[in-house]
Symmetry: C7
Subunit: 97 residues, 7 copies
């Protein structure tokens, strides 16, 4: 999928990675029983916020990173029927390596 979103400031576009739909006992859960995902893949990275002198502050995440973020953080958008999130880098908690 070609991503054509250029996030502004320190924002990143993240594609949520859904957890598996099957519980240990093999029961498929309907959508409402699942928590909103907390893990996602970085699809696009903004240029960074500007510091007091107007210089860009470099970003710590890069395209392809798998990141953790708090539930409900960011803004949900739909691109080609897919749910994506736009988050500020400061809302990202950790990179999964």
């Amino acid at each position: 999928m070609a991503i054509n979103l250029k996030p502004l400031g320190s924002r990143v576009v993240v594609e949520p990675i859904e957890s598996e739909d099957v519980t240990p006992g093999g029961i498929v859960l309907p959508e409402t029983a699942k928590e909103k995902p907390q893990k996602g893949k970085v699809l696009s990275v903004g240029p960074g916020d500007r510091d007091d002198k107007g210089n860009r502050i470099s970003m710590d995440v890069k395209v392809g990173d798998v990141v953790l973020f708090a539930k409900y953080a960011g803004t949900e958008i739909k691109v080609d029927g897919k749910k994506l999130l736009i988050l500020r880098e400061s809302d990202l908690l950790a990179i999964v390596e």
Copy 2:
């Protein structure tokens, strides 16, 4: 349409781009069933906020950019019967390219 609004500070004037009115099944939705638009075209760009020294911080968006923004962000105004939004650049999430 000639836009004669000069936004102040880091504000931009955005013309919302409505999503299509027809659902996949072909049913035309009445206005109240549609979400407020999250996409828009930049019609006018302010000079930028001033930093601590009084210098302008340059803007990252330009006239003609298609931008995403959170629902309910900004102030709605009517110009010639058209609904426009005045938003701070920091309320813009991403540029659609």
Copy 3:
């Protein structure tokens, strides 16, 4: 009308410009059915706020500008029976040219 108000800091005195009282169908609306005005003329401009060094930050609007501002922004005062608004420049959204 001679305006004898000297706004403090980055404030401006604005005279609201009422929208027309007649709807497209020709019905005159009573006052309560009208929205508070969002457009106004700048009557007086303050000297600007001071930066960290105590220097004035110059103002971007000038007397005579027609400006847009969010509904309910600022403080309403009455001068000679006329309703005026005192707003901070940061509450002004755009200059109408």
Copy 4:
């Protein structure tokens, strides 16, 4: 009246100027029907707040100025049975000249 209050920081002591008690039709309004005054005379001016270097930021109002301020701003005190207000200069909207 000798005012013996030395306001601290950027505060000023203001004596509210009541509007006239008589409506256009000549009816004397009881106290509760009147709005709290928004106009007052500056009786005393503080030395100004300190900036980051510890220097005083000079005040823009002086003793004797008639000023406008938002309803309910500041702290009401009673001196010799008289109601006075102590306000921060930033709560003052404009000087009436």
Copy 5:
């Protein structure tokens, strides 16, 4: 009374000065009908807050000053059965001279 409290930062210890208990008509008011005092005597003064460089910002009030402060400001403590207040200097409104 020897005060043995050394306030920290920009705090001061204030002993509230109660208003008289007798109304103009000579009626003694029970405690609950009286407002909390707004006037007090400075018993002890802290060393001042530190600025960004770690230097102390000098205090504007000194021991013995009679000061005004907003109702409910500060923290009430009891020392030897006496009610005292610890307030930040920024909560003091004015010095009564």
Copy 6:
């Protein structure tokens, strides 16, 4: 009791000093009738917060100081069955000398 807690930043570890359990009339109060203590002994002091340049801001209290603090300030922890408080130095009101 050996305290083995190293507070972070500008925090201090304080051991609350309970007021006497006996009222003037000699009645022993049950625990719920007593206010939470406002006085305590400093057991451990953090290295201080960092200023904008990354240098430590030195602390004003030291181990052994008896300090006053607002009710409910800080975080209560239990060490060896003892209730201790971890507070920021800015939550301390005064040193009792």
Copy 7:
């Protein structure tokens, strides 16, 4: 357990240390009767926040430290069925030595 989380900014990954499940009287408490843990072991440490100049502010805790933190601080995540916490260093209260 190999931890493969790289916290961002001044965040740390902490593995909560549960208190013992047995009360003094020897009764095993069911999970809901236990408080959320306030003690944990640092598994991973972020690079630190950036100061105004873009330089990293060094961290005060290191991998292996046992730390105290306020109940409910941070974000709970599950890694391999284990509950971990991602906290900002500023949410850590003290290091247990």
